[in-house]
């Protein structure tokens, strides 16, 4: 029992055994490749298919309904191998440089199986560009140190460049003379010559006109062909260059992720962000696939267009598509999983009543004092403004550190209150709550000074869960507060009568009134005029009116409304 395949040749249906089918389709694609460069290649192809259909039809009858391997072999024997069809037929005989086109057969890019170290790519390229193989190999070797570029390019070329199998292909690889055509060619030349002499003698103008028209037509055709050729190759080159560029960027990114990255001290930061190592591995693999395959395919398409490779690897196209889809699904799964880890948000509140003192001085305990090996980059104002998270390495393990923030508001009673909000996310309300409670934060009070830590910390081996720490200081009416210069970036929100920027409120005493803080020693502070609605300067953009204000600066976008105290932050 043999499995059969149903095929359609020239509109006729055949049942054909599997091995016979493989043989036939290989044969047909060989013919197709042979005529690929010919102007009417498709027409010749369909004529040949029609003949094959006719021949196969003679092989089947009511008692023998299936085409078997022998039938195909017989058909191939009758039709002949593509190499026997004769390459001289595919040349355009009206081409102006006749001698040239007769001598040279079109050079095509193949892998050279006779001179190969790995896949014969280098020697094939060398034959195509007519240089010594050694130079191509040397270039390939040197390009390995360029982010392993040539390794990728080599793999792509190995996959898409066909191997020179037949003698004709090997000749085409070097673009050498196909000797066997010469006799036929000279016979034809002789006939043409005779014909021309005949024409001249008889002086047939009509004939000459026909010749001229034909020459113009075919020259125009080949010019058009050349234009398409150039456009195709240019696009191919652009694809290849773009692909190469993306590849370098992509490899650089991968190296950046897996080895070292400026602020992030150790690659173990991934442990802080991802649930587990497999989780991280999945995320990385899906990234590699989602971005790597398009880059790969771009290079693939570029090489195909540039070297006019017509043969299409369907297996490669399909599997690339499937793998890419898998990567997409994987990436989606990881994203959903990560999202679920952050689904719930909880906030924990701790209230402390502070003793009444004359003037409350607010200071900051700098991060450098809290974390011994605090990254020296933190001296930079930019970073304090950006207020991102820090991933610090200590003997205990890896810790996450984040900047705390302070808000000063009017108290609804006579006492001074400090409220510390700890917030975090988690996969459930309970977990989010626990994550929030885990936040380590300290402040101290000595005499009339209130000293806050600049950063909060998380216990070793905690995961990043969008932890935030927010301190709210509630002052009763009439209370005086002094902001030390260290709180410049710590003070996030303090409504005041003069609408002064929080960063400018340092080094001054402020008194709480019904309308917010009022400055007590602001002689030279340029108050912002109420007429000025929009201010754009190096700090950012500030828009305000009587009841609300919008700030766009390094901290993000903040909208404040006086009627209803509300602050939203948009990263």
């Amino acid at each position: 029992m043999n499995k059969t395949v149903t095929i359609n040749i020239s509109g006729i249906i055949f049942h054909i055994e599997e091995d016979a089918y493989a043989n036939l389709s290989h044969y047909l694609s060989a013919i197709k490749r042979h005529f690929a460069d010919t102007e009417s290649g498709n027409e010749i192809m369909s004529d040949i298919e029609a003949r094959i259909a006719e021949l196969l039809q003679q092989k089947i009858s009511v008692s023998k309904q299936v085409v078997v391997a022998d039938d195909v072999n017989e058909v191939i024997a009758v039709m002949g191998k593509p190499e026997d069809f004769g390459a001289e037929q595919t040349q355009n005989e009206n081409f102006s440089q006749q001698e040239f086109s007769h001598e040279k057969i079109k050079r095509r890019l193949f892998r050279n199986p006779d001179e190969k170290a790995i896949g014969g790519v280098c020697s094939g390229l060398a034959a195509y560009f007519n240089v010594d193989t050694v130079w191509v190999r040397l270039a390939m070797f040197l390009l390995i140190f360029f982010g392993g570029l040539s390794i990728w390019v080599y793999i792509v070329m190995w996959l898409i460049i066909p191997e020179a199998k037949t003698t004709a292909e090997k000749l085409a690889m070097r673009g050498e003379t196909a000797n066997i055509n010469n006799i036929a060619q000279s016979l034809k030349d002789e006939a043409n010559d005779l014909k021309n002499r005949f024409d001249k003698n008889k002086g047939k103008y009509k004939r000459q006109f026909y010749d001229t028209a034909e020459t113009v037509r075919s020259n125009f055709g080949s010019a058009l062909n050349m234009v398409f050729n150039i456009i195709g190759r240019t696009i191919g080159l652009i694809f290849l260059m773009l692909g190469g560029l993306f590849l370098v960027a992509y490899i650089a990114f991968l190296f950046g992720v897996t080895i070292q990255n400026g602020n992030i001290v150790n690659d173990n930061w991934k442990e802080l962000l991802f649930q587990s190592s497999p989780h991280y591995a999945l995320a990385l693999i899906s990234f590699i696939i989602i971005f790597g395959i398009p880059v790969f395919m771009l290079i693939y398409a570029g090489i195909k267009l540039l070297f006019k490779i017509r043969y299409s690897n369907r297996w490669l196209n399909r599997s690339a598509g499937i793998v890419w889809l898998c990567g997409l699904i994987m990436g989606f799964a990881v994203s959903v999983n990560t999202y679920l880890q952050f689904k719930y948000s909880e906030r924990v509140r701790a209230v402390v009543h502070l003793p009444n003192t004359d003037t409350l001085v607010v200071k900051l305990n700098a991060a450098e004092n809290i974390v011994p090996d605090w990254n020296s980059n933190s001296d930079d104002d930019d970073e304090k403004l950006y207020r991102g998270y820090h991933f610090e390495h200590s003997e205990k393990g890896y810790a996450i550190l984040g900047y705390a923030a302070l808000e000063v508001v009017e108290s609804d009673n006579d006492s001074t209150e400090l409220i510390i909000y700890r917030s975090a996310r988690g996969s459930s309300e309970k977990e989010a709550n626990e994550n929030a409670k885990d936040i380590l934060y300290a402040y101290s009070q000595t005499n009339n000074a209130l000293i806050f830590d600049e950063v909060f910390a998380l216990p070793p081996h905690s995961k990043f869960k969008a932890q935030h720490l927010y301190a709210k200081l509630k002052l009763p009416k009439g209370k005086v507060i002094y902001f030390d210069k260290s709180v410049k970036y710590f003070l996030d929100d303090a409504d005041n009568t003069t609408n002064t920027w929080e960063g400018d409120m340092i080094n001054r005493r402020w008194k709480m009134t019904g309308n917010g803080l009022q400055c007590l020693d602001c002689d030279n502070l340029n108050e912002r005029s109420e007429d000025e609605k929009v201010i754009i300067n190096s700090r950012g953009i500030h828009v305000h009116d009587k009841n609300s204000e919008v700030n766009i600066d390094r901290n993000g976008i903040r909208v404040k409304s006086k009627s209803k105290k509300k602050s939203g932050e948009d990263e």
Binding site: I9, P82, A191
Partner: protein, 118 residues
């Protein structure tokens, strides 16, 4: 005959090439006796042992057609795919006439040379 040094001097190869060279002339001659589709042309050529493999014929027919020497029409077949019936055009007929004339001259000259020198 500029590439004589690269020619293969083998009788079998030479025969194949000779056949190919005159194939054009034969196809035109066959079609001058009436329209035919490739299979018929092949059968006639096979009688004269001019065609070694059938595949040779199709590119040649297409080329002759593209050059305006042949025309064609489709005809339904009861037993297989539609058939492409080729037909000699006026230019084709003229071309054939000229080609036949020069062929006869060539044969005569070649025969003369061979018999004189053998």
């Amino acid at each position: 005959m500029a590439k004589e040094d690269t020619l293969k001097f083998e009788p079998a190869a030479a025969q194949v090439q000779m056949r190919k060279g005159v194939l054009e002339l034969c196809i035109l001659s066959i079609l001058s006796q009436g329209d035919a589709y490739p299979t018929e042309i092949i059968e006639k050529l096979k009688e004269t042992k001019l065609v070694v493999v059938e595949g040779t014929l199709y590119p040649l027919l297409t080329r002759l057609k593209n050059a305006g020497l042949l025309g064609y029409r489709w005809e339904e077949s009861t037993s297989g795919p539609p058939r492409k019936y080729y037909k000699l055009t006026e230019t084709g007929a003229q071309y054939l006439k000229e080609l036949q004339l020069s062929w006869h001259e060539l044969v005569e000259a070649v025969n003369k040379t061979i018999t004189q020198n053998s």
